[in-house]
């Protein structure tokens, strides 16, 4: 039964990675289902609309950043050290710009869609303020967290390529919702 052994091999290769991603998602779900977060969804119409875009773009921006750093290390273009490096600096700046820029766009877009449909929405400043702040906070943690993890795993002899996907999904889910909540609280107080 060769096929059965092959199925089992693919299963074993992937189940650990999916398990890590499941744990991150469950934590994020627990935050979303909490009383405080549900109250926020009711107080700021538009947050549920932007939630999938906000969470999904984390994976795209920082997954690409992690993959770039990992290839850079393999090609010897950058060194696994926290010191001034023009390539590294450019990659970090670009990730901040992409991550924060798309967050702000998502805030505008969800407000615009609700306006166009004539539905109730939170104020533009509130939605954009929330996505901007949450975007800045997730960018800082994901960019520096990924650098520490990718450099660390590279130096201890692991291939970072196998780790980036699941790590980005997990960190993105966990910090995405936590910082979304932090941003909601701050914007609720300030605006």
């Amino acid at each position: 039964m060769d096929a059965r052994r092959e199925v089992w091999r693919i299963y074993r290769e992937s189940i650990g990675i999916l398990g890590v991603s499941l744990l991150g998602g469950l934590f994020a779900g627990l935050v979303l289902g909490s009383d405080a977060m549900r109250a926020a969804f009711a107080d700021f119409p538009g947050l549920l609309l932007l939630l999938p875009a906000f969470l999904a773009t984390r994976g795209n921006v920082y997954g690409a950043f992690g993959a770039r750093i990992s290839s850079g290390l393999h090609q010897g273009l950058i060194d696994p050290e926290f010191e001034f490096d023009e390539r590294l600096l450019n990659a970090v700046v670009a990730s901040f710009a992409n991550g924060i820029g798309v967050s702000v766009f998502i805030g505008f877009l969800s407000w615009g869609i609700l306006q166009a449909l004539g539905r109730e929405s939170a104020r533009l400043a509130e939605l954009v303020g929330i996505t901007f702040l949450a975007g800045v906070l997730t960018s800082i943690v994901l960019v520096f967290g990924l650098l520490v993890l990718v450099f660390g795993s590279y130096e201890s002899g692991y291939d970072p390529d196998n780790l980036i996907g699941p790590i980005v999904t997990m960190l993105g889910d966990v910090f995405g919702v936590v910082f979304l909540y932090v941003a909601i609280v701050v914007v609720g107080v300030v605006l």
């Binding site: 289902g33 992409n98 877009l109």
Partner: protein
């Protein structure tokens, strides 16, 4: 000095990626719209909200696993687009088993966590919703992966650059839509 940075220039990275991110955000609004329209259902059943992040990410994970296997075989020239391709069915069987494990665990875990934060939904309902929408999503991920690999093969595109990002993101978008459809049917 900046000339030898090539693809590492921040402007180049932004110009390549930002339009894609904008397009994805617009598409993701489709699944956001489903969430927003069913706001009452989700806010009344916090246990359902626990499922949402996993449903957003897991379809893409499953699609990525299958797509990268298909892509590797396409590069090696061993992939046949035929129902008799045994390796294709082996990969699909593994994906389905992975989906059954993950979404089964998700249903049980969401039930346990749901008891912590709110009045729980019935375990049976939650399992039917989680496993039902999960397996449906896995089927969609399989169909999309095979179709996208076939299209990039016919068009002569490198599937590593095309199918994997497309499949991952489309599955992410479909996750919430499938979850909502199944939840409404069950509740």
């Amino acid at each position: 000095m900046t000339d030898d940075l090539g693809t590492w220039r921040f402007r180049t990275i932004i110009v390549t990626m930002f339009p894609i991110l904008i397009a994805l955000s617009v598409l993701e609004m489709g699944s956001g719209y489903v969430l927003e329209s069913l706001e009452a259902t989700y806010l009344d059943n916090p246990t359902l909200l626990i499922l949402v992040p996993v449903m957003i990410g897991m379809g893409g994970n499953l699609g990525a696993i299958l797509s990268s296997r298909l892509s590797t075989r396409l590069h090696l020239g061993t992939l046949e687009f035929s129902p008799r391709d045994e390796q294709l069915w082996t990969s699909i069987a593994a994906i389905m088993l992975l989906a059954a494990t993950v979404f089964g665990a998700l249903g049980v875990a969401a039930w346990v966590l749901g008891r912590v934060i709110a009045e729980p939904m019935a375990l049976v309902d939650l399992l039917v919703i989680s496993v039902g929408s999960g397996m449906l999503l896995a089927c969609l991920a399989v169909i999309l992966s095979v179709a996208a690999t076939y299209v990039s093969y016919q068009q002569g595109l490198d599937p590593d650059d095309t199918t994997i990002p497309v499949v991952t993101n489309v599955c992410d978008i479909l996750g919430v839509v499938v979850l909502s459809a199944v939840a409404i049917a069950v509740l």
